[in-house]
C-alpha cells in the first residue's frame, strides 16, 4: 500500500528498469505482432544503392525481393513497407495444410497431455503425501526434470526410444516382444504417427509432472489434518476421502495447474525439437508433429518471401486467441467449481 501520494514516484522509479525492458522486449513486440498480422507484404526495410531502392530486407537482413524499375527509372511494385491491410495472412495460413496439421497436432497434444499430467501428478502427490519416510528423497527425484535442460532430456528420451539399441526396445525384446520403430526407422519400417506421438507424450507428461507435484504437494500439506481425522472417525473409505475432501480442498491448486498446463501445452515446441533432433518429426516426415509455435518459428526463420513475417504473426495471433478463449472458459468453470 502506498502510504503517501508522493510515493507513487518512488514506486515508478523502482519499477522503471523492469517497465523499460518490458516495453522494449515485450509490449512493443506484442503490439507490433498484432499490427504485422494484418499487414500484407510487410517489409522491414529498404535496401538502397546509389539512392535507388534495389530490394527489401527481411527481418534478418537478407534481400528478399529484387526491385524492378520502369523506363524512367522509377520503382515499380512496393513503395511502402507494406502493401495493404486485411485478413490476407489469416486466409493464407488457414489454406496452408502445414498450419492445419500444426493446429491438429497441437490440439491432440493438449487434449492428451493436460489431463494425463494433472491426474498422474495428483495421484503421485497423494502417494507422496501418504509416506513419511524418504518423502523428501522422492520429492527431489520427481523435481529433477524441472531443473534439467529440456533439450538434454529430449536427447535422453531419443536414446531411450532408439529403435536399434534403445532401452525400451531391449526391454520389450526381453519380454519376448518385437522391436518397435518408435522415432527412428527400423527394419524398413518408418515410425508411425502414433509411436512418435506416444514418445512425445511420455516425455511431455514426465517433464511436466515436476512442477505439478510440487504445487499439489504443498497444497495438500496445507490442508488441515483434522479434516482427515474427522473423515477417519466417520470411517470414510480412502477413495471417498480423495474425491470428497482432498480434491475439493485442493481445487484452487488444480484450477491453477490446469490453466497453466493448457497454456504450456498449447505452446509446445521445444519438447518436439528435443526429441526429433531439431525437426518436428522423424526423418521420414520431418513435419509430422509440427506445432503452432513450430509453424510460427518456421515462418519467421525460413522467410522466402515478403509475406512470411505477417503469416508468422497471424499464426501467433491465432494461437493467442485459442489460448485466450480456453482460459476464459476455464476461469468461468472454475468460478463455479472451485472452493476458495
Amino acid at each position: 500500500m502506498l502510504e503517501y501520494k508522493n510515493d507513487i514516484w518512488k514506486a515508478l522509479l523502482a519499477l522503471a528498469p523492469t517497465l523499460l525492458l518490458m516495453a522494449v522486449f515485450t509490449f512493443y513486440p506484442m503490439i507490433n505482432t498484432v499490427f504485422s498480422a494484418f499487414m500484407e507484404g510487410y517489409c522491414y526495410g529498404v535496401w538502397r544503392d546509389n539512392g535507388n531502392t534495389i530490394g527489401w530486407l527481411s527481418h534478418y537482413g537478407e534481400t528478399i525481393m529484387q526491385s524492378s524499375y520502369d523506363a524512367e527509372g522509377n520503382l515499380i511494385g512496393f513503395t511502402e513497407t507494406y502493401v495493404g491491410i486485411g485478413f490476407g495472412n489469416f486466409v493464407t495460413i488457414f489454406k496452408d495444410p502445414t498450419f492445419i496439421d500444426a493446429l491438429k497436432n497441437t490440439a491432440i497434444m493438449v487434449i492428451v497431455s493436460v489431463p494425463v499430467t494433472v491426474i498422474i501428478g495428483l495421484l503421485i502427490s497423494v502417494a507422496l503425501n501418504g509416506i513419511k519416510k524418504l518423502q523428501s528423497v522422492f520429492q527431489t527425484i520427481y523435481f529433477l526434470p524441472y531443473v534439467t535442460n529440456t533439450i538434454a532430456l529430449g536427447l535422453v528420451f531419443a536414446v531411450l526410444f532408439s529403435s536399434r539399441n534403445g532401452l525400451i526396445n531391449s526391454f520389450i525384446e526381453s519380454l519376448g516382444g518385437n522391436r518397435v520403430a518408435w522415432i527412428t526407422p527400423f527394419a524398413g519400417k518408418n515410425p508411425s504417427y502414433f509411436t512418435c506421438l506416444f514418445v512425445l507424450m511420455v516425455y511431455t507428461v514426465w517433464n511436466g509432472l515436476a512442477f505439478k507435484i510440487l504445487v499439489f504437494l504443498s497444497g495438500m500439506q496445507s490442508i488441515d489434518k483434522q479434516y482427515y481425522q474427522a473423515a477417519q472417525i466417520d470411517s470414510t473409505p480412502r477413495w471417498r476421502v480423495f474425491t470428497k475432501i482432498t480434491v475439493p480442498l485442493l481445487s484452487p491448486m488444480i484450477a491453477y495447474i490446469t490453466i497453466t498446463s493448457f497454456i504450456g501445452a498449447f505452446k509446445a515446441y521445444s519438447s518436439v525439437i528435443a526429441i526429433f533432433n531439431g525437426n518436428y518429426g522423424p526423418r521420414s516426415n520431418p513435419n509430422m508433429l509440427i506445432t503452432v509455435v513450430g509453424y510460427t518459428y518456421d515462418k519467421l526463420g525460413k522467410m522466402s518471401n515478403v509475406n512470411e513475417l505477417g503469416r508468422a504473426c497471424a499464426s501467433a495471433l491465432v494461437l493467442f486467441a485459442i489460448i485466450m478463449a480456453i482460459t476464459v472458459v476455464e476461469l468461468w468453470v472454475s468460478k463455479k467449481k472451485v472452493h476458495y
Binding site: D224, A230, S235, T236, K244
Partner: protein
C-alpha cells in the same frame, strides 16, 4: 433388512407406534461407560527425550453422563481424548467401551463422535452434506431420503434446521459448533467426544452453547466426554469433572465437591475465581500457626510446614475474628466487596470477599475471621485437612 428389523421388534415385544422409514429416533443406540485402565502416553522427541503426556490414568466414566476433563494447557487432557477417539495410540494401558476393549481398535470402528476444537467442517459442503457425510459411509448403504431425514432430525435437535443449505463459512461460530455436534451425533455413536468445544466462541455464545450441549446430551443420553481448560465451563455443565495436571489425574468428582473438597493444592488453586489465597504456615504440637507466630487453630496433624488455603469467600466479619489485617484496598463489585488485606508478616496480600452491606474502608486495621480453611503439605501439596 426391514424383515430383520421387524423380527427384532417382535422379539423385544414392545409395541412401536409408527415405523415408517422417515421416522427417526434421536436417542443413541446404547450408551456405554468408558473405562481407562492405567492409560499412558509417552511422546518421544527427536532427541529421545520422553514427555509423559498422560501417566497411569485410571478412570471410569459412567454411561450416559457428561464428564469434563479439566486442566491447564499441556496437562494431557486432549491427548487423553484423542486416545479415547483412537487417533493417538496409547503407550500403555487399556481403554474399554462397556465390556469391549477398544485400545487397539481403529477410530472408525469405535463408534465415537468427535467434535474438533475448530469443528473441522468440510468448507466445500453445505450443512446438510456435512451432517450426511458420516451416513454416506455406512454400509449397507442407507437410502438418500432416510439420510436426509436423519440429518434434518439432527439439525433440528441442535436448532439449525433452517440453515441446511448454507456453507460453513456463512455460519457464525456457534452455528458451526452445532453443525459439528450434529455431524458427530448423526451416526449414533456410543460416545461423544468434544475437544475444547467452547474455546472458539465469544463469551455470550459460550454461555448459551454450554447449556445447549448439556441439553443435547440430556436428550440423547449419550456418554459424553469433553475437554476444557475453563473451570467455569467444566463445572457448570458436567456431571463429574476430572482434574488433570502433568498427565496425572488429580481428582474426579462432582464439580461442587471438587471445589469444596479439593484433593490437593493444585486442584484448590486451579478451581475458583478469584483464586484461593495460599499462605505459608506451620504445624507445631497440634497447633496451626501463621509464620508470624499467631496460632489460628488446633489441628490433628503431625508437625510440618504447611500451606494454608483460604478461598476469598471463606472470610467473614461475623465470627471467629482471629486475624489482624490491614485493609489496603476495597473494591465494590455489586453484591460483594472485595478487600485486599495484608496479614502481618506476609509479603503478599490476601483477597477477601465480604458481603457489601458490611461497610469496609481502606487503610485501617481490623480483625477478620474465616469459616473454613484447607491445610496442605507444603512440599507435596497433599491435603491434610
Amino acid at each position: 433388512m426391514e424383515a430383520e428389523q421387524k423380527n427384532e421388534e417382535a422379539k423385544i415385544e414392545e409395541p412401536i407406534a409408527s415405523n415408517d422409514s422417515t421416522n427417526v429416533d434421536i436417542s443413541v443406540q446404547q450408551s456405554v461407560d468408558v473405562r481407562l485402565e492405567g492409560l499412558t502416553k509417552v511422546f518421544l522427541d527427536s532427541t529421545k527425550k520422553e514427555t509423559k503426556a498422560v501417566w497411569d490414568f485410571n478412570v471410569v466414566i459412567p454411561a450416559g453422563k457428561l464428564i469434563g476433563l479439566l486442566g491447564p494447557s499441556g496437562c494431557g487432557k486432549s491427548t487423553t481424548l484423542y486416545m479415547i477417539a483412537g487417533l493417538h495410540n496409547p503407550t500403555g494401558g487399556k481403554i474399554f467401551f462397556g465390556e469391549e476393549e477398544v485400545t487397539h481398535t481403529p477410530p472408525e470402528k469405535r463408534g465415537i463422535g468427535l467434535v474438533f476444537q475448530n469443528y473441522a467442517l468440510y468448507p466445500h459442503l453445505t450443512v446438510r452434506e456435512n451432517i450426511m457425510f458420516p451416513l454416506e459411509n455406512m454400509r449397507p448403504r442407507m437410502e438418500k431420503e432416510k439420510m436426509k431425514a436423519l440429518a434434518q432430525e439432527m439439525a433440528e435437535l441442535v436448532h439449525i434446521g433452517d440453515l441446511m443449505d448454507r456453507k460453513p463459512g456463512q455460519l457464525s461460530g456457534g452455528q458451526q459448533q452445532r453443525v459439528a455436534i450434529a455431524r458427530a451425533l448423526v451416526k449414533k455413536p456410543k460416545v461423544l467426544l468434544l475437544d475444547e468445544p467452547l474455546s472458539n466462541l465469544d463469551a455470550r455464545l459460550r454461555l448459551q452453547t454450554r447449556e445447549e450441549i448439556r441439553r443435547i446430551q440430556k436428550e440423547t443420553g449419550i456418554t459424553t466426554i469433553f475437554v476444557t481448560h475453563d473451570q467455569e465451563e467444566a463445572m457448570s455443565i458436567s456431571d463429574q469433572i476430572v482434574v488433570m495436571n502433568y498427565g496425572v489425574e488429580q481428582q474426579m468428582d462432582e464439580p461442587q465437591k471438587v471445589y469444596e473438597e479439593p484433593a490437593n493444592l493444585f486442584v484448590a488453586k486451579f478451581l475458583g475465581n478469584p483464586p484461593i489465597n495460599v499462605i505459608d504456615g506451620v504445624v507445631e504440637n497440634g497447633e496451626l500457626k501463621l509464620i508470624n507466630g499467631q496460632v489460628i487453630d488446633e489441628i490433628d496433624v503431625p508437625d510440618q510446614e504447611v500451606s494454608i488455603g483460604i478461598r476469598p469467600e471463606f472470610f467473614t466479619l461475623d465470627e471467629n475474628l482471629k486475624l489482624d489485617v490491614y485493609i489496603e484496598m476495597v473494591e465494590h463489585i455489586g453484591r460483594d466487596t472485595m478487600a485486599l488485606c495484608k496479614i502481618d508478616g506476609y509479603e503478599n496480600s490476601v483477597r477477601a470477599i465480604i458481603p457489601s452491606y458490611k461497610k469496609l474502608e481502606a487503610n485501617q486495621n481490623i480483625k477478620i475471621g474465616f469459616r473454613r480453611y484447607f491445610v496442605f503439605n507444603r512440599e507435596t501439596g497433599e491435603r491434610l485437612k
